[in-house]
């Protein structure tokens, strides 16, 4: 009886829903899915018809921006699937991408503007209306601008498609103190490659036959398409060698893994050069025609033999020599992978210079399986002329602390020191958008110290991150599925450049607003409205004016791929360097009194009983931005201290014990995970735990904060944070 009833209902529902689905299909003119035809999904609900739509967007769970298709039922996102048409992401979404739905619907979302009421970081907030919040922010910015000049406000925007509007606002407002997240990440790598090749290439992993990865972990620190291409490559004929103090999942998949002594990568790279030059197995044509300073390099690397390197980095000399030969034999479809995050050592630019130079000896530039020239599809803009503020200081606040800092990125380390010291001039306001230096910048206490020097701090975010938690005013941002974003260009390496964008998948929830809306409203209140006299739609039209074909393609496929030559783009062209060649020897460095070729400096000995703390990634975690995600917490709910069992035994620590980890800058309590997947002198923990923000209700109370422990050394050339220079002691609690 009961059963028959059900059947009746479901037949009626079937008719109703299929009719509505058909209607949707005709409007969208695309393939709509008749889920009602099956026994699952919407058919379980009580006779309510589902309006199912599929919408293109781009993931925002990390920086990669993989293509996705959102399944939206009655205005609610039910599932995110990969968009197979976006060649950069190779038709995949990772665990974080799949958990994006939880980010959007997290009960911990910031819902309306909040004003700090208690002490900083105490967590007492008052709800404001948007008008109240924006009036207050504008008043503070006006006042601080008047007292401390417009440069008295430091702006920091993370990796986001709307960060450009925050930058635009900062410029219009009159501050040139704009920093990005990248000095906590990769600027030293970019510095080194730029200073060697004149630009930052992208590695053609897919077509490579031999890859050495020093310190990169592509199967956990996912980069599209490199991570996917790496698997395709090694399943064909590519050999993978991983050099890492940790047995990462990349090491687990590699043909060879060497647990290098931390901080000695340059010794390994110099020895590779030594063998290649000594045995004349480098690419003689390329070196002769396209490089500058080979004679100096030959002289320079004479002393860096594999036998010497073995003593430094603890990789057998014979293995180094063999790797050099194998690399050279596979060249030009071979590489020493440039990596991504290089915020590791005080000479991280020079380490990556060594990396860049080994690749130059292989002659893999502009070649399949080597380095590919990054291409951009040039987009239009709505230009503007910011006002000139006469009382502004002469230069950025983080200036003169590293000789070759990128002005476009700044240096978080230096800016923070400058704020604390009030030198060269005072900074009294901090404006952050979607960035969380409380978790990603080494030495959390110093970040707190900086924030305590401020008169006003404003954070725009979708969650109460630790950084937002410290702010005076917190403004709720729309998440990636709720907003329209500008067009952006990407490159799937061998598949060439493409254009992508975001259109809203659902309406913004609560009172959340896009960054553009927020800065436009602020600008209006500061009499700067003329610089934001456009809607996002108009901005996008200006961007895409010269590419009408792209608009069509993006509507149809969610992406526009431009056919273009990928290899051989430099044929007959000079390199964009001083010598117009690849700079093995850098005259610019010599002129700046920097080592013109990388000189190895032995890291300090790790005293017994101490450990070197290294930073790394898990495939389920994007630092602090995903650790509160309940779906992902089922994979990693807290971080653990990786400790070798032999080292643990000496300390009387058993697996799962709570331990106190101490460095010169901080202490944290964490559970120990005894594993042979790490060197005896090294320890590791994931980033993004040990949060201070009680607004992150899922992760609060879990694990330890690595930023609290990391010393804030810096790469002396680029100002990149150097996070692997920290020694810690560990004891059982």
């Amino acid at each position: 009886m009961r059963k028959d009833n059900k059947k009746e209902i479901s037949r009626r529902r079937f008719l109703k829903v299929s009719a509505s689905a058909a209607a949707t299909a005709s409007v969208a003119g695309n393939t709509q899915i008749l889920y009602a035809l099956t026994t699952k999904g919407s058919a379980k609900s009580t006779g309510v018809q589902s309006n199912i739509e599929k919408k293109f967007s781009l993931c925002d769970m990390c920086f990669n921006k993989c293509g996705l298709i959102a399944r939206v039922e009655d205005g609610i996102v039910k599932k995110l699937d990969p968009n197979p048409k976006v060649l950069k992401s190779r038709g995949m979404l990772c665990a974080r991408g799949n958990a994006g739905i939880q980010r959007v619907y997290d009960p911990d979302r910031l819902k309306y503007p909040l004003l700090r009421k208690g002490a900083r970081g105490e967590g007492k907030w008052q709800r404001l209306s948007w008008d109240q919040a924006l009036d207050l922010a504008a008043e503070k910015l006006e006042k601080i601008g008047g007292e401390y000049t417009r440069c008295g406000t430091l702006f920091m925007a993370g990796s986001d498609m709307q960060s450009k509007f925050v930058h635009r606002f900062a410029e219009a407002y009159g501050s040139y103190n704009i920093i990005s997240h990248e000095s906590n990440c990769l600027v030293s790598r970019n510095r080194a490659f730029l200073d060697t090749y004149g630009e930052m290439p992208i590695p053609d992993v897919l077509n490579s036959k031999y890859i050495i990865m020093p310190g990169s972990n592509r199967f956990e620190a996912l980069v599209t398409p490199d991570s996917i291409d790496l698997m395709s490559a090694i399943r064909k004929e590519c050999k993978l060698v991983v050099i890492d103090p940790r047995y990462t999942k990349t090491a687990a998949m590699a043909h060879e893994w060497y647990a290098i002594k931390p901080g000695t990568d340059m010794a390994f790279l110099l020895a590779l050069m030594h063998v290649m030059i000594d045995e004349k197995i480098y690419n003689t044509d390329f070196v002769k025609n396209k490089t500058n300073g080979f004679a100096e390099l030959t002289q320079h690397v004479k002393k860096y033999s594999p036998r010497w390197a073995e003593k430094e980095c603890q990789i057998p000399a014979a293995a180094i020599a063999r790797m050099a030969r194998e690399l050279a034999a596979a060249a030009p479809a071979a590489m020493v992978y440039p990596g991504r995050r290089t915020s590791d050592y005080t000479d991280s630019t020079q380490i990556r210079r060594a990396n860049a130079i080994v690749n130059a000896l292989l002659g893999n530039w502009d070649q399949p399986g080597g380095f590919v020239v990054a291409q951009k599809i040039h987009l239009g803009n709505i230009p503007f002329e910011p006002d000139f503020y006469e009382d502004n200081p002469d230069d950025r606040v983080d200036v003169n602390r590293s000789p070759m800092m990128f002005d476009t990125e700044g240096a978080y380390k230096h800016a923070r020191d400058a704020v604390i010291e009030g030198n060269p001039y005072p900074i009294k306001a901090f404006f952050t958008y979607k960035t969380n230096p409380m978790q990603t910048g080494a030495n959390r206490q110093k970040t707190i110290e900086m924030i305590n020097r401020l008169d006003f701090m404003l954070s725009i975010d979708i969650m109460m991150s630790d950084t937002a938690w410290m702010a005076d005013l917190v403004l709720p941002a729309a998440s990636y599925l709720e907003r329209m974003d500008p067009y952006a260009t990407q490159q799937g390496v061998s598949t060439g450049p493409c254009l992508v964008t975001r259109d809203p998948v659902i309406k913004p929830m609560f009172e959340s607003k896009s960054a553009l809306w927020i800065v436009r409203e602020l600008a209006r209140r500061l009499d700067l409205g003329m610089h934001f006299d456009f809607t996002m739609k108009q901005f996008k039209e200006a961007q895409i004016k010269k590419h009408p074909e792209a608009v069509k393609a993006i509507k149809k496929d969610g992406v526009y791929h431009q056919k273009s030559k990928v290899y051989g783009r430099y044929d007959g062209k000079p390199f964009k360097t001083l010598s117009k060649k690849v700079e093995l020897f850098s005259k610019r460095y010599a002129d700046a009194e920097l080592d013109p070729m990388p000189v190895y400096k032995r890291p300090k000995k790790i005293p017994s009983g101490r450990f070197q703390l290294v930073v790394g990634r898990s495939a389920a975690i994007t630092q602090g931005s995903t650790t509160n995600n309940k779906l992902l917490r089922e994979l990693v709910s807290e971080n653990e201290l990786w400790l070798h069992p032999d080292s643990a035994e000496k300390l009387g620590i058993r697996n799962g014990d709570r331990v106190l980890v101490s460095s010169v800058v901080g202490k944290q309590k964490i559970r120990a995970r005894l594993t042979r997947e790490i060197r005896k002198d090294t320890v590791y923990m994931d980033t993004g735990f040990g949060v201070l923000s009680k607004g992150l209700t899922s992760v609060f109370g879990s694990g330890a904060c690595i930023a609290e422990l990391l010393e804030d050394r810096f790469d002396y050339i680029s100002g990149n944070m150097a996070m692997h220079e920290t020694l810690v002691s560990v004891r059982k609690i």
């Binding site: 995949m92 999942k249 997947e677």
Partner: protein, 207 residues
């Protein structure tokens, strides 16, 4: 001809990123603490070469779970998929311990049993299962065994794949794994709840 779905898994492609776990969890609203699919490592901690083996309900042709169900709530359905009629299921849990692959769980709120059905609703809509589609390295390949030209049949022809079964009970699973990888001998012997062993004949649905 009726379709007969199978998945071929190239174990060596899996990087243990767990995209498939979260994709499945979202698609099928699997409750916190439970999973319809998994990734098994062949060694933890001190291995110098690790394999990760993904898996889920094997949609067996002679399913011991079906034999164990006292009310016929689970049966071989369309596409060769083992389905559960959750209206009929009494939640006794016989099928949970009967599965050699431990692919079933009792839903904590609904008190019925749940498991992977290769995303039958997606298949019906012409889509691949969530785990298959989202995988970065496309470790799982889904196809129709009744179509001689299907990708799975092309792969199986190469004779590089095997089924993994318990030596006592071959339930004739429809997931195939790369030969010469580890983790080919883990399926357990089916039991009834409480660890009660039955004669192999008890688990047979076919004579």
């Amino acid at each position: 001809m009726q379709k007969k779905y199978a998945i071929v898994i190239d174990t060596l492609n899996c990087i243990d990123c767990k995209a498939c776990l979260i994709a499945c969890k979202v698609e099928n609203k699997v409750p916190e603490g439970f999973w319809r699919n998994w990734i098994k490592p062949n060694a933890i901690g001190n291995a110098l070469k690790t394999q990760y083996q993904p898996g889920q309900c094997m949609q067996c042709d002679d399913p011991s779970c079906v034999a164990a169900c006292p009310v016929d709530a689970t049966f071989k359905g369309k596409g060769g998929l083992v389905v559960i009629d959750q209206e009929k299921c009494i939640g006794c849990g016989n099928c949970v311990t009967a599965c050699p692959y431990e692919a079933r769980y009792r839903h904590p709120e609904k008190s019925v049993v749940d498991k992977c059905d290769f995303c039958a609703h997606r298949l019906a809509a012409g889509e691949e299962p969530a785990c298959v589609e989202t995988c970065p390295t496309k470790t799982r390949i889904l196809g129709n065994l009744n179509d001689p030209d299907s990708k799975v049949n092309q792969l199986l022809k190469r004779n590089e794949y095997v089924r993994i079964t318990n030596p006592l009970i071959n339930t004739q699973p429809n997931i195939y794994y790369k030969k010469e990888t580890d983790l080919l001998h883990w399926p357990k012997e089916p039991t009834l709840p409480g660890g009660i062993h039955m004669s192999p004949q008890f688990w047979k649905t076919k004579t």
